[in-house]
Symmetry: C2
Subunit: 234 residues, 2 copies
DNA sequence: TTAGCTTAAATTTTCGAAATTTTAAAGGCG
DNA sequence: CGCCTTTAAAATTTCGAAAATTTAAGCTAA
């Protein structure tokens, strides 16, 4: 479970693995539209694999709740909805804070080092993002993920980590379709800094509160963007 | 999500679906030994399906954390360990109590009715189990699952329900290998009764405490059985 | 003996096409 | 005109075997 997803090898040894990782990335990034049909023949061409490994990859994604399957009718990209986003956010608060608490209580010096390192890397990319612009957004996304992973890495619970990762992926889908970059524009850096400080000084309650606040703030932005989209469509 | 597992159709429309459900049941029930290799050719015969639907079914199980895959080396039944069991139990406590709380706060009359019905059915099967013996154990397992599902069904959070279901399945694996029937022998009925009473009288805290106690008691029995097994092996 | 190498067997993985089912279109009728 | 049935096209699902990889066995040499 050292990978950034709940299961699956770090390096793809089979075509099915490879397809799984690529399709997964594309769903999370929103390149495959939420709710859209996954036509098998089209995908075999797009990802350059045969039917068998493709279906295997999609079946794994069903288990990850990133795709849905209906017998004899095929696969779809898992749809998004405001209601589900609210649910994800609430449950994520529960999981993240529990993991954060345990991580703070159990984390040793290696944990501290890793958190600082992830934070520094994230800060570096935020400065870069300000200068260069959106082209380095994927790198920021990656660093942001690693930063939040590092914070809870010492919680000692593979199942908390697994659930947290699933919810993070789901949240990222909403973030990515509702805002291309405003996430980084926000005072997100300050929020991260505050969390790091609280965590490293072992202030459990403060770190958890700040984490919840961080989630709520992000949720607010997404919610607003989703609502705006709805208004535009009507 | 009306099914008893997180994803997948209620009725199997394809061979892959069918194989998925059957293999899943066998893993949860311990008929496929934890950690054992899943040889594809053997499985195609045992479940009477071809390679393609079989691999698809196994891929789904990987997503459910009931099987693991290693590139070019195949599939295994997910292994069990005492450490993981402790982890599952702790996280399950977190999820179950959160779901229980919300369910009590939001549950309407239909919820109450469903809980009572599930409880009555479970009680009926417990009496039957005392008389007839182990042959009706699978039925009891089923009723027990439905009972605990009914309790949290009104929580209003698909994701909580999904996670809860995953952890319940995982726990069941441990229960089933470590005790064939002592679970029902225990004063488990009284514990269930107490939970139902607390839940239906909307005593959130009490219901949660009792749920945690219930989990802890079950965990104690499993832990002891696992330890005994270890001693015997050494 | 044991470690390393070679070869054979077993197993997993993948392909390409046939079989099945769903979806869309066309035709007929009240 | 709308609705039901029939027919054709499209898409999914499954099979059977070839290709690739791992595992086990046999053999040689230090």
């Amino acid at each position: 479970m050292t990978d950034d997803q709940a299961n699956g090898a770090i390096v793809a040894k089979t075509l099915a693995d490879h397809a799984y990782q690529r399709i997964r990335r594309d769903i999370v990034a929103g390149k495959l539209a939420p709710g859209s049909k996954l036509r098998l023949e089209a995908l075999t061409k797009r990802y350059d694999v045969g039917m068998s490994p493709l279906r295997e990859a999609l079946a794994r994604l069903v288990g990850d709740a990133l795709a849905v399957i209906e017998g004899q009718r095929g696969f779809w990209v898992a749809p998004l909805s405001i209601e589900e986003f609210e649910d994800i956010t609430r449950v994520r608060g529960l999981i993240e804070t529990e993991a954060m608490q345990r991580s703070i209580e159990r984390g040793g010096p290696e944990w501290e080092t890793a958190v600082r390192k992830a934070y520094d890397e994230l800060s570096r990319l935020e400065r870069k993002l300000k200068k260069k612009g959106d082209e380095s957004l994927p790198l920021w996304e990656d660093a942001n993920r690693r930063f939040h992973e590092a914070l809870v890495a010492a919680c000692g619970s593979p199942w908390l980590i697994r659930f947290r990762c699933m919810l993070y992926d789901q949240s990222e889908r909403y973030r990515r379709i509702s805002l291309t970059r405003s996430a980084a524009d926000r005072c997100v850096h300050d929020e991260h800094e505050a969390i790091v400080e609280a965590a490293l000084s072992r202030q459990v309650l403060k770190a958890c509160r700040l984490t919840e606040l961080h989630l709520r703030r992000t949720a607010d932005v997404v919610r607003e963007a989703l609502a705006a989209e709805d208004r535009k469509r009507a």
